[in-house]
């Protein structure tokens, strides 16, 4: 693992601000997304080495642009096809701003014609400015496997003619779903895995930033604002989610004074913005549920009735068993643990391999005094999680500490 130096935070911010627009600009100029992306990636690796050693330059954005441009031209010299294009100079001046460039790039990286697992990796590299080793570390995957996946996806973008454009208005909502899904997964991967000190990039923070970028660029799309709200509110709890040993602290036991209340207020403002567009959706409802949790004084004083009602609406839009699981957990808080357990058991077929299903079931079984069954469910949950912090939590549970909500 690369050691994280004090400048890494700044470095990461510069890279994520500059990488996407730079890739988009070079791709337009050289009409080759693969070449542009590779040039920017190499420039980022050079920047990480040089800036860590000598400190960041006065104008990091210009530094990065010069380096990327030089790399692209080096690449062009190796390829006669692009040489002709480069000699023609810039393609006609375009009126698009940096944000539109980045959005167009994001739509290409999240295109439904790409394999789902490649969309996230490519987005992280081209749009958010992560290096392949950073992505491999974040997802605990083999670096060469990941590199292969990225190469394949980039070739498909070039060869199959996936263009770097924002979809027309009549296709925007549908295509945006794919983009939001990638940002959402990015946040969740970062949120579960991040223990702060062990990573040189905070994926969850990057996802919050990207969700904000998307919402700003698609101001008439309520789900974009809903996702930005959801991630902002969830991320506001980040500091309270881990104890000093890196152990996961569940919502019920979190020190609510350590939450970022300004960020929570910002999240609520984003929800209102989304709601004003009057097209409810999954992310908006999840954000509303997160807001109810985030504004409660304590676990006990949480407005569970409102949460259950919000889950009812959500379940109509999103038939995933995970939504029904969460709804059942909330209902149990209203004093109906037996009904909640029956609901959970009806989902057993579909959620058998989901560790939080067994963790939630264990909690209900404990509430009902069925301690042997609860231990069995906790053991199953433990066997299914791959995340260290979650594993530690479930181990603690097995040694019969009070059980919890799985948040």
């Amino acid at each position: 693992m690369t050691s994280a130096s004090p400048t890494d935070g700044l470095l990461g911010q510069v890279l994520r601000e500059e990488a996407g627009p730079l890739v988009a600009r070079l791709a337009r100029r050289f009409r080759d997304f693969d070449l542009a992306e590779e040039a920017v990636q190499s420039a980022m690796v050079e920047a990480l080495t040089s800036w860590r050693r000598d400190g960041p330059p006065d104008n990091p954005a210009a530094w990065l642009q010069v380096a990327a441009q030089r790399n692209a031209l080096d690449g062009v010299r190796r390829s006669s096809r692009q040489r002709a294009l480069a000699e023609r100079g810039d393609s006609p001046a375009s009126a698009t701003t940096g944000t539109d460039d980045r959005l167009a790039l994001l739509f290409a990286c999240c295109h439904p014609a790409l394999a789902p697992e490649a969309r996230l990796a490519l987005t992280l590299r081209a749009v958010v400015g992560l290096t392949t080793p950073q992505i491999a570390r974040a997802f605990l995957v083999n670096e060469s496997t990941l590199a292969q996946r990225i190469v394949r996806a980039k070739r498909k973008i070039v060869d199959a003619g996936i263009s770097l454009t924002v979809p027309p208005a009549d296709q925007l909502s549908e295509r945006l779903d794919d983009v939001l899904a990638v940002v959402y997964v990015m946040f969740n991967e970062g949120f579960v895995a991040s223990t702060g000190a062990t990573q040189d990039r905070d994926l969850a923070a990057d996802a919050v930033w990207l969700a904000g970028v998307v919402a700003t660029a698609a101001p008439r799309e309520p789900e974009a604002w809903g996702l930005a709200a959801l991630l902002t509110i969830q991320h506001a709890r980040a500091a309270a989610r881990f104890d000093q040993h890196g152990g996961l602290v569940l919502l019920r036991h979190q020190d609510r004074s350590r939450w970022d209340h300004a960020a929570i207020a910002e999240g609520e403002r984003l929800i209102e913005h989304a709601a004003a567009l009057r097209r409810p959706g999954r992310y908006q409802l999840q954000a509303a549920i997160a807001a109810v949790h985030a504004t409660a004084q304590s676990w006990e004083e949480t407005d569970w009735l409102q949460i259950v009602m919000l889950y009812d609406v959500l379940a109509r839009l999103d038939r995933s068993p995970v939504v029904r699981l969460n709804k059942a957990v909330a209902r149990a808080q209203l004093g109906a643990p037996e009904e909640a357990l029956a609901e959970l058991d009806s989902l057993a077929d579909r959620l058998a391999s989901y560790h939080l299903f067994h963790a939630a079931r264990a909690e209900l079984l404990t509430t009902l005094g069925r301690h042997d069954d609860a231990r069995e469910a906790n053991r199953t949950a433990l066997g299914l999680t791959s995340n260290d912090a979650e594993r530690r939590l479930l181990t603690t549970r097995l040694h019969s500490r009070p059980l919890d909500d799985g948040s």
């Binding site: 199959a160 263009s163 296709q171």
Partner: protein
């Protein structure tokens, strides 16, 4: 960009289709080709059934002629079109309205055509 659209179906499932519904769908197919006439580039073709296929393939002692298609897949290609559109998204949008996608087992494969042979000129 030029793409070839390959229309595939599952004859085993097609056999179950209601003849009247199928007739109505073919009318929509005809209309679809009229509506999308603007993107049709080179000529395409509808193919006769898989039972008419003959395959010539590699054999150790020279080529071998066999009755039937080149693979045993359940999906068979029933026809193809060559289209020219701005990008893959435009191709996908057009293909999404292909009427036969209402029938189970039907699919359209979109494949970009090689158009740049400059690497052969060196």
């Amino acid at each position: 960009m030029k793409y070839v659209l390959m229309y595939t179906s599952r004859p085993d499932l097609d056999a179950n289709a209601d003849p009247e519904a199928a007739q109505a769908l073919y009318k929509r197919v005809y209309e679809w080709f009229q509506e999308n006439g603007g993107i049709m580039a080179d000529s395409g073709a509808e193919l006769l059934g898989i039972e008419t296929a003959t395959t010539v393939k590699h054999g150790d002692d020279g080529s071998v002629v066999v009755d039937g298609p080149f693979n045993e897949a359940k999906e068979v290609i029933g026809g193809f079109s060559v289209i020219e559109v701005a990008d893959l998204s435009a191709a996908i949008e057009a293909v999404k309205t292909w009427p036969l996608l209402d029938l189970p087992g039907n699919a359209v494969e979109i494949r970009p055509m090689v158009e740049d042979y400059s690497h052969m000129e060196q």
